[in-house]
């Protein structure tokens, strides 16, 4: 389609909107399909979910319990093995046998679909390191199992951190895995919570943090080189929705800067970002909320510390300006500056202006974060997005990545040998007190200032699910290459930017490649898979609902 429609869109833009944007000539934008790419992928959509460890969703894959009355899952013949729970891990888990876990000692146990709403775990930088216990992965109940509660119907138990879902709850993801490709060796770049995960998937670098204001410890550390590294959650400076007591920003570059240099269209689309919309419950502005019918809890839609581009002066849209038009979304010069509401993504695609690179972040209640969201609301979000994209003409050149920002602290048995060390006397506790790795032996990447190795980037961190849904994805395939969140940055660079790297100590240079999950030579042959947005089971005709 593109050529004709893009030309038409460009015409509409020049005719109707150039005047109101200080004369920016959007028609100069190269149509997305004409941008030179290293693979047949012309559109990358990253669904960036919240807080799930690999075993929490895939520990028993591909075997589901299938209780009567729940969505059923039966694996296809020939489904490859994954690195999930062995009988020993299920029945004599080190978290059961290590008495240091106290009353929380537990084997992994099944969470029923009725237990989709659970309490949240501890997912701090140090707590996660302590849980992994120098690779033994046997202190989760003790260090990350300190649960906070969710809504009135949430499930909690002292060993809750050992709970896992199966294909009767995360049915859609298991079905995507059956038809497309996944990794069982994907990790966050470093231990810790959401904001470091959000920053790493666009910059591969959490050093270069610039403090605005802070009211409690644990958000960042002295990097040992006179700068700061972000290790915790903090809001972006200058965003009107940010906390007034805890905020900061980043120096350095992110992938958006490189895409802008090359004229590649891109955007971060997040639920609740538009401050002018009023939800059906009357909430609006930064306080826009949605009540989940799964958790019965009400959660704010836009969570500032999940929006990474807001931390960088070059890519921020601090005033949450609306796009000039659906036809200019993602194009350099649009007043939204690549930062948009989730609904803008669907508007752009429908207008024939499907960006090359799109990051999607659900509204709070659908982002999968335990405590206020849940896998069933997440499933609705993910399936609505993918069902929609699969019906677009450009599906044939699309790859959807389902990636997570952190593990929430949920148990995962697979420890990744430290690839990037850190030696802060207080916060690093992985291999020994004050150590993540062996000083002088373990590699330790530079900070943004280029003055040498910095602390606060201990990783890879916890293992998380990582799926590729695309006509070019290998079918029912499990890749074992070690990859991280920065592998997303690397793929974008390799595909659109001739392999250019961010530099400044970014993990993009050292991260693994996700190419193993694709079969680019074989053509766009993997058929679409429409899923029921409530049950996650295959359907022939998808619903036309879209997330808000």
């Amino acid at each position: 389609m593109k050529k004709i429609l893009c030309a038409a869109a460009a015409f509409a833009v020049t005719a109707g909107l150039a005047a109101c944007n200080g004369g920016t000539d959007f028609s100069a934008q190269t149509p997305v399909d004409d941008l030179k790419t290293a693979t047949p992928i012309k559109h990358l959509v990253v669904i960036y979910g919240e807080n799930v460890s690999f075993d929490h969703y895939y520990g028993t894959y591909p075997t589901a319990t299938n209780p009567v009355g729940e969505p059923q899952f039966t694996a296809k013949a020939g489904t490859p093995a994954i690195r999930g729970f062995t009988p020993a891990l299920l029945n004599n888990n080190p978290n059961l046998t290590n008495a240091a876990n106290g009353t929380g000692v537990s084997n992994p146990f099944r969470l029923d679909r009725s237990q989709a709403a659970t309490a949240d775990m501890n997912h701090d930088y140090t707590a996660e390191q302590l849980a992994y216990d120098n690779g033994a992965a046997d202190l989760f109940p003790k260090f990350t199992g300190t649960a906070e509660t969710g809504g009135t119907g949430a499930f909690g138990t002292t060993g809750l951190v050992m709970g896992y879902y199966d294909g009767n709850t995360v049915t859609a993801l298991w079905n995507y895995s059956q038809h497309f490709a996944m990794s069982d060796n994907a990790y966050s770049d470093q231990y810790g919570p959401s904001t470091p995960g959000a920053i790493n998937v666009i910059a591969g670098q959490t050093n270069g943090f610039v403090l605005g204001k802070s009211s409690f410890p644990g958000e960042f550390i002295d990097d040992g080189q006179g700068g700061l590294t972000l290790t915790g959650d903090i809001d972006p400076t200058g965003d009107p929705c940010s906390s007034t007591t805890d905020f900061g920003s980043f120096s350095g570059k992110n992938i958006g800067d490189l895409l802008n240099d090359q004229g590649v269209t891109w955007g971060w689309f997040e639920g609740g970002f538009s401050l002018s919309v009023m939800n059906s419950n009357g909430s609006t502005g930064c306080g826009r909320t949605t009540t989940s019918s799964v958790t019965n809890a009400t959660k704010v839609d836009y969570i500032p510390h999940h929006q990474p581009f807001q931390y960088y002066a070059s890519t921020a849209n601090l005033k949450h300006l609306r796009p000039n038009s659906p036809n200019t979304i993602g194009i350099k010069g649009d007043q939204g500056n690549h930062q948009y509401d989730l609904t803008d993504f669907f508007a752009a695609v429908k207008a024939g202006n499907y960006p090359a690179v799109s990051f999607l972040k659900a509204s709070g209640f659908q982002d999968a974060h335990a405590g206020y969201s849940d896998p069933l609301d997440e499933q609705t979000f993910v399936t609505e997005v993918i069902n929609f994209l699969e019906q677009q003409p450009d599906w044939k050149s699309t790859a959807v990545l389902i990636v997570y920002d952190d593990s929430d602290g949920w148990y995962d048995h697979q420890f990744a040998t430290v690839g990037n060390g850190s030696f802060d006397a207080t916060v690093d506790q992985l291999t020994a007190s004050g150590a993540c790795g062996v000083k002088g032996t373990t590699a330790q990447a530079d900070g943004v200032a280029g003055k040498g190795a910095v602390n606060g980037r201990c990783g890879p961190g916890a293992r998380q699910p990582f799926l590729v849904v695309s006509p070019y994805a290998k079918a029912n395939f499990v890749d074992h290459t070690l990859i991280t969140q920065a592998s997303v940055v690397r793929f974008i660079e390799d595909n659109w930017l001739g392999g250019k790297r961010l530099g400044g100590g970014s993990f993009d240079a050292s991260s693994g490649s996700i190419d193993g999950m694709f079969d680019f030579a074989g053509g766009a042959k993997n058929p679409v898979l429409f899923l029921d947005t409530d049950l996650g089971t295959p359907v022939t005709t998808p619903s036309s609902d879209l997330p808000k």
């Binding site: 146990f109 099944r110 019965n296 009400t298």
Partner: protein, 448 residues
């Protein structure tokens, strides 16, 4: 979302089949001043078959074999026939191994708790507001009077809110349900192990292994957690815990008419200078149609009189201070909250025979008289001491008297002033409160 329950849908189908009848009903709604002139669509919870876990929870909820006496189940105190509140007028229940121990607090209803937020202390968030019901009530009566100013924003105050129990000490149904199971004056299991042992003897024990894996039977703590979660799931899923079938709900939807007396009561309920009940007992649906729960989930020290019928209250050194103890232990130092208890929902309140945290009152008339006379004629409410003086706020220690609410109407008056409500007002308010009882059948409309 199932905005309309199956039962009502059925009724509607009948009405639709008889088109004339429907037209009559619509016509009536425009003529009848008791009808809500601006009906709203209420969002009731999804009403599907119970999950396997909820069905398990239902059996646990009704199982007396889980108590030390073998006679007490959740349903003994939270009577399904009494809106999951106390079955009679006993101020607090008796329980324990031989059923002789008296509890400390009145039994709260388990209805309409599912939307309770977690306990927090934070800024007072203004409720999303829809139609101004006070205005509507005035319109529908054709009278002119001052309306409640919707949207008047007070300075954000740091207020405790949310949580379950009278003191908000549990956030989830699961932890709430655990309380009575282990309380010596209730189901009286000595510890987790004893409660788990009782569960392992239950006829439904195999369901646990099926749903949560065989390991659960070997892990007493988790077995108990799963069991109480199942109870929680029953409370979340079963429509009987949130039926929204009151006359007021149907009035909101334009399917029932309030009588003149009920409308007067609603107006008083909303009147900021009179009863001002809606100041805490929120009576408006959310903009998205979430039915009102008649509570703001916040905490108040009202200074309810001490109840001599409670054995704990016979110890003169004993005070039930709500948020700061003795049952709740985590914020005892926050003495500015001593004496505060959670504002309960008023749905089905007229069916209760026990009111306030200590069960001091047994009749709604007396409850409303407490609000009317507490400050203007305290001698009507509190006993006299040996010195002949009225012992106002006799259940609040002197150090915490400053916590008692004397700001919000109707509790802002001085001795000698007129009470905020007359006897006639109280009758009208009670008539309105009765419209909050579940089980109203809107087809009564057709018979009017």
């Amino acid at each position: 979302m199932g905005p309309v329950s199956g039962k009502i849908a059925g009724i509607l189908c009948v009405l639709l089949a008889a088109g004339l009848l429907l037209r009559y009903a619509e016509g009536a709604s425009f003529r009848d001043p008791g009808m809500n002139p601006h009906p709203v669509a209420l969002q009731r919870p999804h009403d599907g078959p119970l999950s396997a876990v909820a069905l398990l929870g239902q059996r646990i909820f009704h199982d007396p074999s889980l108590s030390a006496s073998g006679k007490m189940s959740c349903a003994s105190c939270h009577s399904p026939e009494h809106a999951y509140g106390p079955p009679d007028g006993e101020p607090v229940r008796h329980g324990g191994a031989d059923g002789s121990l008296q509890g400390n607090r009145a039994v709260p209803s388990l209805r309409y708790l599912y939307r309770t937020p977690n306990f927090s202390i934070g800024p007072d968030v203004n409720e999303a507001e829809n139609v101004d019901l006070n205005k509507l009530a005035v319109q529908s009566q054709g009278t002119v009077r001052a309306v409640k100013t919707a949207g008047s924003v007070a300075a954000p105050a740091m207020v405790p809110q949310g949580g379950l129990f009278w003191d908000g000490r549990a956030n989830t149904f699961q932890t709430q349900a655990m309380g009575p199971l282990l309380n010596p004056a209730e189901m009286a299991n000595r510890d987790t192990a004893e409660a788990a042992a009782r569960l392992r003897k239950a006829p439904y024990v195999e369901s646990f292994a099926q749903l949560f894996g065989p390991g659960v039977l070997k892990d007493p703590a988790r077995l108990l957690d799963e069991a109480m979660f199942a109870v929680a799931r029953y409370e979340v899923e079963d429509p009987s815990f949130h039926p929204y079938s009151s006359k007021y709900d149907y009035w909101l939807e334009g399917k029932a008419a309030l009588t003149e007396e009920e409308l007067r009561g609603l107006r008083l309920f909303d009147d900021k200078t009179k009863a001002n009940c809606a100041g805490c007992h929120v009576d408006r649906p959310g903009r998205d149609g979430l039915p009102p729960l008649f509570t703001d989930f916040q905490y108040e020290a009202l200074g309810v009189p001490r109840n001599a019928d409670l054995s704990v209250d016979r110890d003169l050194r004993y005070y039930d201070l709500g948020l700061c103890g003795p049952q709740r232990a985590d914020i005892r130092g926050q003495t500015q909250y001593c004496g505060m208890f959670r504002t309960p929902s008023l749905r089905n309140t007229s069916t209760r025979k026990v009111f306030f945290h200590n069960g001091a009152y047994h009749d709604l008339k007396d409850v409303l008289a407490f609000y009317a006379f507490r400050d203007v004629q305290p001698d009507k409410i509190y006993p006299k001491g040996p010195d002949g003086r009225v012992r106002k706020f006799d259940d609040v220690p002197a150090a915490y008297l400053g916590n008692v609410d004397v700001m919000d109407a109707p509790l802002d008056r001085k001795p000698g002033q007129l009470p905020a409500m007359s006897d006639a007002d109280i009758r009208d308010i009670i008539a309105f409160l009765k419209t909050l009882d579940d089980g109203y059948r809107p087809e009564q409309l057709a018979a009017r």
